[in-house]
């Protein structure tokens, strides 16, 4: 047997894992397996889903659905990133600000996006804005909490060193606090991107005629079951893809981080 490089082996395992999941799905759905607690009787099979996906791909609606969703996710995400990082840096650096800002945030944090829907409808003049708000809520907390965590994790001796070397407020912030918290911030941004997509269906339940989340939800209403799965998978793929992009972009900005981990 030819020896496989570990990299190739891992790639094969990844592929096999995905294939196994699809195979299990195929088996359970075509045989209409009933596990008692959960039943696959009404779950569309991979083939049906694939046909539905092909239909959607040829449909002119696809572009409108996609651009509507991507626009909402990115708008909510952008605001969440700006606010989450800024607040996180401030809270992480100042005990007084932490005392002032954290209690209300801690109360808001466990509230799921769905629970925000009524209020979002009442608060915002347009349904578009309320949908953006829901994705914003989803992305905000992972970004905020990871930023705080990153700032608090900075070795106090690094800050002391910077001060001893003549660094003052702004310089310490730019040269020590921000880069020191960067790995954690990137993690938060990457998770936040995932949760923004996660909240998309919730957001697009509010209204609208377009969007992948809307497409998924309306497919259920009109009992177009294969389309539900197409919508779900599309969200999964886009969520994963954009999370990955965020992580890669972050990593490209922190070459030092990997050197440190490799030799440590």
């Amino acid at each position: 047997m030819a020896t496989l490089s570990p990299r190739l082996l891992r790639g094969l395992v990844r592929g096999a894992s995905l294939a196994a999941c699809v195979l299990a799905w195929h088996w359970a759905s075509t045989r209409h397996i009933d596990f008692g607690v959960a039943s696959f009787r009404n779950v569309p099979s991979p083939q049906e889903t694939l046909q539905a996906a092909a239909r959607l791909l040829q449909s002119p609606k696809l572009g409108t659905h996609l651009s509507a969703s991507i626009g909402r996710v990115f708008a909510g995400y952008a605001v969440a990133a700006a606010l989450g990082i800024a607040l996180g840096l401030l809270i992480g650096r100042s005990r007084l600000l932490a005392a002032a800002l954290l209690p209300p945030l801690e109360v808001l944090r466990p509230i799921p996006a769905v629970a925000w829907i009524p209020l979002a409808i009442l608060m915002f003049p347009s349904s578009e804005l309320s949908m953006i708000f829901i994705t914003f809520i989803g992305a905000l907390f992972p970004i905020l909490l990871n930023t705080i965590h990153g700032v608090e994790g900075i070795d106090a001796r690094l800050v002391a060193s910077a001060r001893s070397l003549g660094g003052r407020g702004g310089a310490v912030f730019a040269n020590v606090i921000l880069p020191g918290a960067a790995p954690s911030i990137v993690t938060g941004l990457s998770i936040g991107m995932g949760t923004a997509w996660f909240c998309l269906v919730t957001a697009e339940m509010i209204s609208g005629q377009f969007g992948i989340g809307y497409y998924t939800w309306s497919s259920y209403i009109v009992q177009d079951y294969p389309d539900i799965i197409v919508g779900m998978l599309a969200i999964g793929v886009f969520g994963m893809g954009s999370s990955l992009l965020v992580r890669q972009a972050g990593n490209a900005l922190m070459p030092w981080y990997f050197i440190g981990r490799k030799t440590a």
Binding site: S161, A162, S164, L165, R168, P179, T263
Partner: protein, 263 residues
């Protein structure tokens, strides 16, 4: 060279808050003349680092004076360079950027600080590693970068908090030699904290021995070993005699085994 005189008197520092507060240093006085190499030797937890923190300006005394060249220390300042035990280089900056940091925050133009940083890296023998990140260097090399990074500010005093304690014995000896060579060329006052008697005896003009907490100076040992000093010094009779004296001061009872935890 008239810069770098240190005058500390009646220093009292409390650490912690409320019930957990303790006197780290109490009634400590010491003086150093410009260009002197002072080693402060003491058992762990005796307040050596606290003393250095006060000199650096990171800790505020609750009583007593800390004067450098007649000026009360009020906060950290690049004229009082501080070198820690390990891992205080900025991991996200290259070796060169780390060394140039002091000039960067002072607004020195890029080309000038690059030139100056390279000079200092040359001084510690690391000019080929200018583009590396700290994590790519060995522990000893990282400490050399630390020293270069502090020296770029032309400090009046160099404060070193057990800078070689985390290094293996071989590297530690090399680093002590290198520090003496550097100090011979850049004659700044050095306050060097250590719990290693050999290190203190090898490096210092004068050793100050500290008591258990709350720390104060209990003994002063003037060292007359000629410079430049070489490794053979540690086997001479005078060295061994002084070492025994230090051991008695640090371990008044029969010496208990000392455990050191690698971090």
């Amino acid at each position: 060279m008239s810069h770098g005189a240190i005058d500390i008197s009646g220093l009292h520092i409390r650490l912690g808050e409320g019930k957990a507060a303790l006197d780290a240093v109490h009634g400590l006085s010491l003086a150093a003349s410009p260009g002197e190499f002072l080693c402060v030797l003491g058992p762990s937890g005796c307040g050596k680092s606290t003393l250095l923190g006060a000199l650096a300006g990171h800790l505020q005394p609750c009583a007593g004076k800390v004067l450098v060249d007649g000026q009360q220390v009020r906060g950290p300042h690049p004229e009082r360079g501080l070198v820690f035990q390990q891992h205080t280089l900025f991991p996200w900056k290259s070796v060169l950027e780390n060394v140039a940091f002091g000039l960067k925050v002072r607004g020195v133009p890029r080309s000038e600080r690059r030139e100056r940083a390279l000079e200092l890296l040359q001084l510690v023998g690391l000019e080929q590693h200018a583009a590396s990140y700290p994590a790519q260097l060995s522990g000893g090399m990282q400490q050399r970068v630390e020293i270069a990074r502090v020296l770029i500010n032309d400090p009046r005093v160099l404060l070193m908090d057990e800078p070689f304690a985390a290094l293996d014995a071989q590297t530690r000896l090399k680093m002590q030699q290198l520090l003496l060579d550097v100090w011979a060329r850049i004659r700044t006052t050095v306050v060097f904290i250590t719990h290693d008697i050999d290190e203190a005896l090898f490096l210092a003009d004068r050793i100050l021995v500290m008591s258990e907490r709350p720390g104060r100076i209990i003994e002063e040992i003037q060292l007359e070993f000629p410079r430049p000093r070489r490794a053979e010094l540690v086997t001479t009779l005078d060295f061994v005699r002084l070492k025994r004296r230090c051991l008695e001061l640090l371990h008044p009872q029969p010496a208990a085994p000392v455990l050191r935890y690698a971090t």
